[in-house]
């Protein structure tokens, strides 16, 4: 089917001199091989999942509003924490980055489309089915998976409900989607750059995604392997993670985190690229230390394979293994630090303005760095014994994932919305969205540091009364942050329905890059003839 459509496409293109011809209605979206359409679908899908995962977080925060069990059962609480994590990681953050990659990478390197457009269609369209399978497990007896998004064995094998099978299957589909997306990014970047666009001229967003794609290809098969081992341990009598059969439950954690730690960087490296595009644009000054940014990204990616066991310090590793992983983890602070210093130096003696993308980027730099600081603290093994599995960790990874990854995605959306939609976003609403998000996100996550240090374990549905005050504050912040995101929905819908001032080809004075050389909204087909760089 898609063959026919794209064939007609090329025929049309030849005849009609590159006019924006496309099928209409549902078929346009089902059969599209256009990187912009696919990018749009990825972005809307991820936003939908962001709201779904977010409402689960609100359920968690509602139960934790005060001590005692009021609203939900502990077993359902565990389903909420599990599905919140899975959906936010695999459904919201990762697809959002793939959507941005789809939209922006071809336009940034002067390519007409992604290199493998049909695979591109396929890698998006299997995702909704993956999540349909995952979410349908709520209707099984025993409900959805309740073993945490990290699905540690044997809680996920011997002691889990049958929804595990759906969980495993759905993970496989998501993994396939990610691998296909990653292959597409790599092939596109290696083969389809415009003449003169050599590697060291590529925008950092392209560079960071290039490296991210290699990480994805390296670790997604590990995830596929480990979920399969969980499946066979549960249903086919193997004992990979069962000591009684000669296995080891800690092996699960080694395998999972060998995937899981690079996964963390998969969710932050593209953010670095986004912020490296936005800060120079609004500081009206070239990015400081472009080459060192590239090398820092590559070294972070390399180190990400050598630090996985810092998630496992309390599992009883040999001392020398603990030391090795502690040193390697601390080392990551060096290239990450270089990036932050470079961003600040880019601002230094620039001529800054503070449009919404810049506001989100500035908030990113500060709040991501706070997440980095708690990361250094967590790297110190003897102290990690105290932090491990407490709300301190929850605070840490929400600072890097929400005020890090999610804020950068918001920044990217505001930065490129005029290019995507052809209209300027509603400035007042966007500022309102920023300030509401900034304030509420800190009410939400900052106090978690305190309650974690004071000794509150994570993933508990009820807590001792000395944690009550802070949990109340956190819950209020959670609801404020959650509802603030509806402002963004309003902004995005207004742009989608072209309600707003028409955007010029280059709405930002200091913006650099090929994407600003095409009109706004970007035509359906761009760079049919490669630009000269």
């Amino acid at each position: 089917m898609s063959t026919t459509v794209s064939d007609t496409h090329s025929a049309h293109d030849a005849h009609d001199d590159h006019h924006d011809h496309k099928p209409t209605g549902i078929k346009r979206w089902l059969f599209t091989t256009n990187h912009k359409d696919i990018g749009t679908m990825y972005l809307w899908f991820s936003f939908l999942m962001f709201l779904v995962g977010g409402s689960m977080a609100l359920m968690i925060r509602a139960e934790l509003f005060q001590p005692g069990m009021q609203i939900i059962d502990p077993h359902f609480f565990n389903q909420m924490t599990t599905m919140h994590g899975v959906i936010m990681v695999f459904g919201a953050v990762m697809p959002a980055f793939v959507g941005l990659a789809n939209w922006m990478i071809p336009m940034m390197i002067g390519a007409p489309d992604m290199a493998l457009p049909r695979m591109n269609n396929w890698s998006f369209w299997i995702l909704p089915f993956a999540f349909l399978i995952m979410l349908s497990s709520f209707f099984m007896p025993g409900g959805a998976p309740a073993f945490g998004w990290t699905f540690y064995a044997p809680l996920s094998t011997t002691y889990s409900t049958d929804s595990t099978a759906l969980f495993v299957f759905s993970m496989h589909i998501m993994g396939m989607s990610s691998i296909m997306g990653a292959i597409n990014v790599i092939v596109t970047i290696m083969n389809m750059r415009a003449p003169g666009m050599n590697y060291m001229k590529m925008p950092l967003f392209v560079w960071t995604w290039f490296i991210t794609a290699f990480l994805l290809i390296a670790v997604m098969p590990v995830l596929a392997g480990v979920v399969t081992m969980v499946l066979t341990d549960k249903y086919f009598g193997t004992s990979f993670f069962d000591a009684a059969g000669g296995g080891d439950p800690v092996l699960f954690q080694h395998l999972f985190w060998f995937f899981g730690h690079p996964e963390v960087y998969i969710m932050i490296l593209p953010s670095f690229g986004i912020v490296s595009a936005i800060i120079p644009a609004f500081a009206r000054k070239p990015l400081f230390g472009y080459a060192s940014m590239v090398y820092a990204t590559a070294s972070i990616a390399g180190l990400s394979f050598l630090v996985w066991a810092h998630h496992m310090f309390t599992t009883g590793m040999p001392t020398f293994a603990s030391l090795f992983f502690m040193y390697m983890t601390m080392l990551i602070a060096v290239p990450t630090g270089v990036k932050v210093f470079n961003w600040v130096s880019t601002m230094w003696r620039g001529a800054m303005t503070f449009e919404t993308p810049m506001l989100f980027s500035l908030a990113f730099v500060i709040l991501f760095t706070i997440g980095g600081f708690s990361g250094i603290m967590l790297a110190i093994t003897p102290v990690d014994y105290q932090y491990h599995d407490t709300y301190f960790v929850v605070a840490h990874f929400h600072y890097v994932l929400v005020t890090g990854a999610v804020f950068s995605i918001m920044a990217a959306a505001y930065y490129w919305l005029p290019k995507w939609s052809g209209v300027m976003y509603d400035d007042f609403l966007s500022k309102l969205h920023f300030w509401c998000s900034l304030i509420s996100v800190n009410i939400l996550f900052f106090p978690m540091h305190f309650v974690g240090l004071a000794g509150m374990p994570r993933r508990i549905p009820d807590y001792a009364i000395q944690f009550a005050d802070i949990n109340q504050i956190v819950s209020i912040g959670g609801f404020l942050f959650g509802f603030s995101q509806l402002i963004f929905l309003a902004v995005a819908l207004k742009c989608a329905f072209k309600k707003g001032k028409p955007a010029p080809a280059k709405p930002w004075e200091g913006a650099e890059g090929l994407e600003w050389t095409v009109p706004s909204p970007a035509p359906y087909h761009t760079f049919d003839v490669p630009p000269k760089v």
Partner: protein, 381 residues
């Protein structure tokens, strides 16, 4: 715009200083200092790294805020053109590296101390299971289970919550101060994690493997902790309480315990021949059921569909009596149903089985006596 940006600045600075201030006071917003040498060292290490981070934060964010304030277009500045400086780049690669070495050295020394479990004075085997802890003193003939003591009525809001809500157990671990206590930590089912913040001890309990940790407590007192690794439905309801006593008091306590347990065993032997009435069995059974079984099978015996099987009107509870005894005594391999052979006395086992066979309309009329359990276990061996 300007006003709002300044207020953001002030807000963030205020947040940071309040963090520092509260950290300095050692209030409950910060890590506990604890009551062991190790925990105090861990605390100072935590504060050291924290202050280094704050210092770096002040420099980096300070530069950023100066830049945001001074280098803004609205002040009519012209942007500079520089975009590279090798010396600066080398400096901010090397200096952080040196700072990290400064953190790594004390961290390494502390870790080596924490991992050295040799030359201990006594050992306690800690076994986690869903959702309770079992303590076994390897140098004495004493072992027992430790369950959450907070009543369900407090959890479900029918009674006001008391001071140690969710942090209280029926039988705490008792240890002497001033001695090096080695903990051997393992699990019967899923992974748990034994954590007492005031000792800076947190170690995973892995099924089939034994982990080691140690502590030497300086001050007598009651110390509370919780399971730290997600271990299923009632992960939030398996606290840890440790009472540290002076060595002489501990010695007296443990000898009393040994005696009490020996007496109980003798008594059990003696009572094997004694029949309990249905009322006795049912009331003891209900007590045991609520403390040991209700977390999974629910107080009404309905279980949780798809997760934990119900007992009311279905399954072994209304079926073959020997099969019922078997599953309670030996557990069911490959499921969350654990063996209660060592955790309950024969009288308690008999009572809880009787209760399950007659409660919630099961009404089988079967009475199981301690002697039946005894006979089953003998036949089993």
């Amino acid at each position: 715009m300007k006003v709002r940006l300044t207020s953001l600045l002030i807000g963030l600075v205020a947040m940071f200083t309040s963090a520092i201030a509260s950290a300095g006071q050692g209030s409950q917003l910060n890590l506990t200092r604890g009551v062991t040498d190790i925990s105090q060292t861990v605390y100072s290490l935590h504060m050291l790294v924290f202050y280094i981070c704050v210092a770096i934060g002040v420099i980096v964010f300070g530069a950023m805020f100066i830049s945001i304030y001074r280098h803004r277009k609205s002040r009519g500045v012209e942007p500079a053109k520089f975009h590279d400086n090798l010396r600066v780049e080398i400096a901010w690669t090397v200096i952080p590296f040196l700072i990290l070495i400064g953190m790594a050295v004390p961290a390494t020394i502390t870790l080596l101390k924490m991992d050295d479990t040799s030359d201990s004075d006594m050992s306690v085997l800690i076994t986690g299971s869903q959702w309770r802890w079992h303590y076994s003193y390897l140098d004495y003939d004493v072992e027992y289970l430790s369950n959450l003591a907070t009543p369900r009525d407090q959890i479900y809001g029918r009674l006001p919550q008391t001071e140690n809500y969710l942090l209280e157990v029926d039988r705490p671990l008792v240890v002497p101060v001033g001695q090096k206590i080695r903990f051997l930590i393992t699990s019967d089912d899923v992974i748990h994690s034994w954590w007492v913040p005031e000792f800076a001890v947190k170690k995973d309990a892995n099924p089939g493997y034994i982990n080691e940790a140690w502590t030497r407590i300086d001050e007598p007192g009651i110390y509370r902790g919780q399971c730290a690794e997600l271990c299923g439905r009632d992960h939030g309801f398996m606290p840890i309480v440790v009472i540290a006593k002076e060595p002489a008091e501990f010695e007296a306590w443990i000898q009393g315990e040994e005696q009490r347990l020996a007496d109980a065993r003798a008594e059990e032997e003696r009572l094997l021949s004694m029949e309990m009435s249905k009322d006795e069995l049912m009331s003891m059974g209900e007590r045991v059921y609520l403390s040991q079984c209700a977390a999974c099978h629910q107080p009404n015996g309905q279980g949780i569909p798809g997760v934990f099987p119900g007992l009311a009107g279905v399954g072994v509870s209304i079926g073959d009596q020997t099969a019922h005894i078997d599953v309670v005594v030996n557990g069911a391999a490959g499921t969350a149903m654990q063996s209660f052979r060592n955790n309950l006395s024969m009288r308690e086992l008999a009572a809880v089985i009787t209760y399950e066979r007659n409660a919630w309309g099961n009404n089988t009329g079967d009475l199981v006596q301690a002697a039946d359990i005894h006979q089953f276990i003998q036949g089993n061996q």
